[in-house]
Amino acid sequence: MVEPPLDGAQALRLLATMWRIRLFEEAVGRLARADEAHGLIHTSVGQEGIAAAVCSQLRDDDPVYSGHRAHGHAIAKGAPLDRTMAELLGRDEGLCRGLGGSMHLVDVEHGFMGATGVVGGNVPIALGSALAARLRGDDTVAVVFFGDGAVQAGHFHETVNLATLWRLPLVLVCENNGFAEFTPRSAHTNVERVTDVVAPYGLARDTVDGNDVVATWDAFGRYLATARAGGGPFLLECLTYRLGGHYEGDPAAYREALAAEEWQAKDPIVRLQRHAAAEGWAAEGEFEAIRSEAADAVDQAVAFARASPFPPADLLEELVYADG
C-alpha cells in the first residue's frame, strides 16, 4: 500500500503545528524562568517535525503515548494549547486538572493517552492498547514516542519481543537525539542505531532524518497504512537534535552549543519552509502568517492558563480511585 506523499495543504498544516509547538515550548521556557511554571519540564524545541509528521496522520481514536518530553506530541495529537498550558501551570482547567503536569499530559478526547516520567515506561502500555484493538477487532493503530535513552531499558526489549510475537498494530517512534540527559549515546551503548538494536525481531523498521518532515511523514505514513490494515509492529527511528538543555534550567555545560548557521541547516521548520517554497506551495508572507497565528494562539494559551483558577483542595481525594 503506498500512501500519497505530502501535499501543499498538508505541509502548511504541519508548519502550523510545528510553530504551535515551537512557540509553546519557548513560552514554557519563559514561564519556567519567571517561576510561573514549575517542576521538571522538558521541551522539544528542534524535534517538532516528528510530532507533527506522525500525529497529523492519526485519527482521534488512535491511541498515542509519549514520555517525559511530551508537549509536542500532545499538541500535535490535538490537545488544545490553552488547556495544555494550564496543565503545566497546575490549573483546574488544565488537561488533567493540574494534577499531572508536564510529564503526565493526557487528553483522552484526542487520543493522547498519556505521557510518563518513567523513561520507556509507556512503551509496553502502548502495546497493551494495541492488544485491546486486536481483541476488540477495530482498526485503530497505537503509537508510542520515546527517546534513545529508553532503548537501554529492559522493558523496551520485552515489549519489542511481545509486539513482534503477537504482531500487533503498534508503531514505535524513537526520537533519537543522541543524548540521554547529559550523557551522549556513545556512553550508553555500542549500537548507534535503534533500528539495529531491534533488528533480530524482524520487524519492519527505518531510520530517517527526523528533522526532514517530508521524509518522516512518508515513512510513518507507509507504516500507518499497513498497521491500519492489521499489520505491525513497526519501528521508526527519527534522528533529531535537542536544541535546548535536557530540562528547563539545564546549563548544558556538557556539550557545545550549535552555531546559529548550523542550526539553520537542521531546523525542521526552516527546512520545511524551504521545501514548501521550492515546491511553490506558499509564498514567504504565508509562513509569517502561520507563525504569527501560532504566536497568537500561544499568547492566548498563556493568558488562559494564567487566568485559570487552581484546583480545589478536595480534588485530591476525589481522584485517587475511580468510582465503581
Binding site: V108, T116, G121, V123, P124, E158, L162, V320, D323, G324
Partner: protein, 326 residues
C-alpha cells in the same frame, strides 16, 4: 452444599467473568497450561488462546500491557506467578497503574486485576515464599485483596474484576488445595467489607489470608482449654479496610491481636495496630499485639521454616499473654 477448593473457586470465578464479559481476558506466564497451581486450568480450552494469553518471562512489560489494555477499555486479569516477582512489575503497578486515574485528572481508568500468590510453607525458600502485601497497601490508587477461603475467593475475584481500579489479589499457595464445604451458589462479596468468622467477647483477632485458619483453630483451642472466647475477623480486603468493624469489635473486647504471615516489621499489622490504638485508645486494656514472621528471609530447611512461620501456636500464646497476664 458442595465441596470445592480455593483454587477451583478462583478458576470458576475467572471462567464466569470471561463468559459474562467479552472484555475480560487473562494473561501471564504459562496461564494457557493452567499455571503451576492449576488456577487457570481449562480456560484456554474454553476461551481460546486469544483470551488466555501465555507470555514470556517479561514481568515488567506484561504488566504494562495489562495497563494499556485496561486504559483502552478491556478488563485484563494478569497473573504474576509468585508475588516475589511483583518486584519486577512494581514500576508499572506503582508509577503507572496506581496513578493514571489521578494524574490524568480522572480521564483514564485502569480496571485491571493482578492475581498473584504468596506465602511460605512449601519449602520454596527465600525467593518463592514472601508475603509482600504491605508494600502495596502503601500505594494510593491500588486496592489490595487477600482471600482466605474458597467461599470468599470467587466473590472477591469477581468484585475485583468489576472494580474500575487496579486491584492486586494475593492468593496463598498453601490454601489452593484446601477442601471446603461451600453453598452451591457462592455469595457475592464487596471489596472493603470484612467477615467476622467467629464471635467472642474476650479478645479480637484480626487475621489475614492463611492466618485466618490458624486464628480460627487457635480460637477453638482457647475456648476449650482456657475458656477464652476470641472474635476472629478476616478483613478480606486490606485496601479498602473495614476499620469500623475492627474498632467496633475492640470496643467490646478491649484487646487486639493482629496476625499475618508477612514479616511483622513494616507489615500491614503495623498499620492496623497504629489505626486501632488511635481510634480505640480508651478501650484498649493492653497494647495491640502483632504476630508475623521474624525479621529474616524465609529459610529452606524444614524445621527452620516451620519455626519461622507464625501459626495457631503463636496466636494462642499471644492471646494468653494478653488475656491472662502472668
Amino acid at each position: 452444599m458442595a465441596e470445592t477448593t480455593y483454587v477451583k473457586a478462583i478458576t470458576g470465578a475467572l471462567a464466569e467473568a470471561m463468559r459474562a464479559d467479552d472484555r475480560v481476558f487473562v494473561l501471564g506466564e504459562d496461564v494457557a497450561e493452567g499455571g503451576p497451581y492449576t488456577a487457570t486450568a481449562g480456560l484456554a480450552e474454553e476461551f481460546g488462546t486469544a483470551r488466555v494469553i501465555d507470555t514470556p518471562i517479561s514481568e515488567a512489560a506484561i504488566t504494562g500491557v495489562a495497563i494499556g489494555a485496561a486504559q483502552s477499555g478491556m478488563r485484563p486479569v494478569l497473573e504474576i506467578m509468585f508475588v516475589d516477582f511483583v518486584t519486577l512489575a512494581l514500576d508499572q503497578l506503582v508509577n503507572a497503574a496506581a496513578k493514571a486515574h489521578f494524574m490524568s485528572g480522572g480521564q483514564l481508568t485502569v480496571p485491571m486485576v493482578v492475581r498473584t500468590q504468596g506465602g511460605a510453607g512449601q519449602r520454596g525458600a527465600a525467593q518463592h515464599s514472601q508475603s509482600l502485601e504491605s508494600w502495596l497497601t502503601h500505594v494510593p490508587g491500588l486496592k489490595v485483596v487477600m482471600p482466605s477461603r474458597a467461599v470468599d475467593a470467587a466473590g472477591l475475584l469477581a468484585a475485583s474484576i468489576r472494580d474500575p481500579n487496579p486491584v492486586v489479589l494475593i492468593e496463598n499457595k498453601t490454601l489452593y488445595f484446601r477442601r471446603e464445604e461451600v453453598p452451591d451458589e457462592l455469595p457475592a462479596v464487596e471489596l472493603g467489607v470484612s467477615a467476622t468468622l467467629r464471635e467472642g467477647r474476650d479478645v479480637t483477632i484480626v487475621a489475614l489470608s492463611r492466618l485466618v485458619h490458624d486464628a480460627l483453630a487457635a480460637a477453638e483451642r482457647l475456648a476449650a482449654e482456657d475458656g477464652i472466647e476470641a472474635e476472629v475477623i478476616d478483613p478480606r480486603t486490606l485496601v479498602p479496610l473495614d476499620l469500623a468493624a475492627i474498632v467496633k469489635s475492640v470496643q467490646r473486647t478491649s484487646r487486639l491481636v493482629v496476625a499475618h504471615e508477612a514479616v511483622a516489621h513494616g507489615g500491614f499489622g503495623a498499620e492496623i495496630a497504629a489505626q486501632v490504638q488511635s481510634a480505640a485508645f480508651d478501650f484498649l486494656d493492653a497494647p495491640v499485639v502483632r504476630i508475623g514472621a521474624p525479621f529474616a528471609p524465609v529459610p529452606l530447611s524444614a524445621p527452620l521454616e516451620d519455626a519461622y512461620l507464625p501459626g495457631a501456636d503463636e496466636v494462642v500464646a499471644a492471646v494468653r499473654g494478653l488475656v491472662m497476664p502472668p
